[in-house]
């Protein structure tokens, strides 16, 4: 079996480790690019949201490279995401290549551990549980890597970019719990910044795919770091996996905080987006909130209204960015520059009035 799955930024490594640990062979498509997006857009319905188009492009490229099994998250509730795999299966079938699409329901962890994975890979449930533990570990490593990278890059952009290939090597090579522990120590040594902190910090919230996939969000963390801003984030594959096992305490905190604006969950991740934004503003004292989501995303558009209310209530500026296939990198950079300029002026004014 040559398995493939959508690329998820740095968290791709965690998924890769998981499948390889179960004894599957992974065929990863090349990093998402304009070409991927074009292939995806061509095979997609016109009005569907961006993650559909990008992941479909990934699958098409992976099938070209010889993959024969496609894993896609599923589980239909209020958000469109749960229905992706029905349409993607049809679109891939039209491309004429032989393949098998395995929908992995997000809301049935027991079926995943005891039926789906053991049957697919021909291993025992104990083995699956062990591999899931490794995946958790690794997702924790990528989460920490991103946090370290964001801080270090904001302080010393060019130097960190030089260190990045080395760090990615470390990240990719760690496969067992002991290796991951060693890699974590080396990463901390490599990317640590001795307690110094950038002047400006913004919180990144929004739809999870757009928060963790660099192509999708125009590498927004890097662009902000170039401007000397540290990006604080909470959601990654680690927290998503925890959430699916009902073990993510930060979710319950977010849900409690979000009640201020949203009394009922509109589906997707709207509650987390709003709750995290409130947490970042009130607890982490960030200078601004950047909200990323795909164009016409239903839950995030509701969250957007709540975030605007948050700006009115607290005065912390929110930059809402919706992405579609026509979003240009240059346009994004200009908006970020203007936003960061405004944040810088605000923080200077605040420090003057404090003195």
């Amino acid at each position: 079996m040559k398995a493939t799955f959508p690329l998820l930024g740095y968290d791709t490594y965690a998924l890769k480790t998981f499948v390889e640990d179960l004894g599957g062979e992974v065929v990863l498509p090349p990093a998402t690019s304009k070409k991927t997006l074009e292939a995806g857009v061509e095979a997609s319905p016109e009005l569907i949201c961006m993650p559909f188009k990008i992941t479909l492009g990934n699958f098409l490229e992976a099938l070209d490279m010889g993959a024969d099994t496609v894993f896609m998250a599923a589980g239909a509730r209020k958000c469109r995401f749960g229905y992706y795999h029905y349409l993607q299966e049809r679109a891939l079938a039209r491309s004429g290549r032989p393949f098998r699409l395995i929908p992995v329901s997000q809301y049935s962890p027991y079926a995943f551990l005891f039926r789906l994975m053991p049957v697919t890979f021909g291993v025992s449930p104990t083995r699956v549980i062990r591999s899931v533990a490794v995946m958790f570990y690794k997702a924790g490593l990528t989460h920490e890597f991103r946090a370290l990278l964001n801080r270090r890059r904001a302080l010393d952009f060019a130097g960190t970019e030089r260190l990045k290939p080395r760090a990615l090597e470390l990240l990719e090579a760690a496969r067992s719990t002991s290796e991951i522990r060693a890699a974590r120590r080396s990463l901390r040594r490599l990317l640590g910044c001795n307690g110094s902190r950038p002047v400006l910090r913004v919180g990144l919230v929004g739809e999870i795919f757009f928060m963790i996939e660099q192509f999708a969000n125009g590498d927004i963390e890097k662009e902000l770091a170039r401007l000397g801003v540290e990006v604080v984030f909470e959601r990654s594959l680690l927290h998503h996996l925890r959430h699916l096992l009902h073990l993510d305490w930060s979710f319950y905190r977010s849900r409690r905080l979000a009640r201020r604006y949203l009394r009922e969950c509109p589906g997707g991740e709207a509650l987390r987006t709003v709750g995290e934004a409130i947490h970042f503003v009130e607890h982490d004292r960030v200078d601004g909130i950047v909200h990323v989501y795909p164009f016409t995303c239903m839950p995030e558009n509701i969250a957007l209204e709540a975030l605007q209310q948050l700006t009115e209530d607290t005065g912390v500026p929110v930059l809402s960015l919706s992405f579609d296939e026509h979003t240009s990198r240059t346009g994004l950079q200009t908006r970020l520059e203007a936003y960061v300029d405004m944040l810088r002026r605000r923080s200077r004014e605040r420090s003057i009035s404090r003195d």
Binding site: L47, K78, E264, C265, P266, G268, T296, E305
Partner: protein, 297 residues
């Protein structure tokens, strides 16, 4: 007490029930006027430009009520039996309404989760203070929930088009009426899901079982039921509607497979009526020609 009801979204299904229920409580129901350009413009100022047309319209209605009434009655449908959900925006609009209305106007928003009548009863108690009166008013209004009995009667020889679209789009004066009159002018009979019995609309056969949006499942079932007995299918989708963007794709594929002419009209606030009418006329002409060809063959 004057309680406002926006004439949008769920009003088109439960409106008469709500009005009688509120009147029975001793409060004065104030229903907003039919949607017009002015209300839409008002709505555009209050919600993000990316949401779908019906949400923009209901935002206009809510803004119109602000300051005119003591409270706004806007039940929130979250899910119904069989774990059928409403769409995220329909759930979220209630919170947006709360933020729009601010502290000046009360928002009465019972959350409907499986049970339909109990949240209404609690809201009734909240409005009139008397459980007895709320229960009596609810019992009296209840007969309006079922609506008139439906029977689909298809006359032989008539020209029929299935109009597949959300009830709140079709029945809205601003969105649906120009389209309906364009079809009628050409001598076509429009069949909508209103003429189908509940048992068909709630069916769980085939792909319908996987659809977990309540109104979307109704649309898909209506489409499956009607597609064999009409001359063409017109699907009304509002720009930015998430569920429709998926389900319309399935309908398109199936109509293509069965050789039934298919027209997808995407609506937003910039859609001109003249353009729509032209498209509809062209579509009808094409489907007629196709019929003549198949008859000749």
């Amino acid at each position: 007490m004057r309680v406002g009801i926006p004439r949008a979204l769920l009003y088109y299904r439960y409106g008469p029930f709500w009005e009688r229920f509120l009147a029975g409580l001793g409060v004065e129901p104030v229903v907003t006027r039919r949607t017009d350009k002015e209300l839409l413009q008002l709505g555009l100022q209050h919600v993000s430009s990316e949401v779908c047309l019906p949400i923009k319209i209901i935002a206009g209605h809510i803004a119109d009520l602000k300051g005119r009434v003591d409270a706004v009655f806007l039940p929130r449908m979250v899910w119904l039996e069989d774990e059928l959900y409403a769409c995220p925006k329909m759930i979220g609009i209630v919170d947006i309404a709360r933020m729009m209305l601010g502290d000046g106007t009360r928002l009465i928003a019972p959350s409907i989760k499986r049970n339909f009548l109990w949240p209404h009863f609690r809201a009734g108690v909240e409005m009139c203070g008397s459980p007895l009166r709320a229960a009596r008013s609810l019992a009296r209004a209840r007969s309006l929930l079922a609506g008139p009995p439906v029977a689909l009667r298809l006359e032989p020889g008539e020209k029929r088009i299935a109009l597949i679209g959300h009830f709140y789009n079709i029945e809205d004066d601003y969105i649906g009426q120009p389209i309906i009159s364009a079809f009628r002018k050409q001598g076509y009979r429009l069949v909508t899901k209103d003429e189908l019995p509940e048992s068909v609309l709630r069916g769980r056969q085939g792909f319908a079982k996987s659809i977990r949006w309540v109104f979307e499942r109704e649309l898909y079932n209506a489409f499956r039921f009607l597609v064999g007995s009409v001359d063409g299918v017109c699907v009304l989708v509002s720009m930015g509607c998430g569920p429709d963007s998926l389900i319309a794709e399935f309908m398109k594929e199936e109509a293509g497979r069965r050789g039934v002419p298919f027209l997808q009209l995407v609506l937003d606030e910039h859609t001109g009526t003249a353009g729509l009418v032209t498209r509809i006329e062209a579509f009808l002409e094409l489907s007629q020609r196709r019929q003549q060809l198949t008859r000749a063959a």
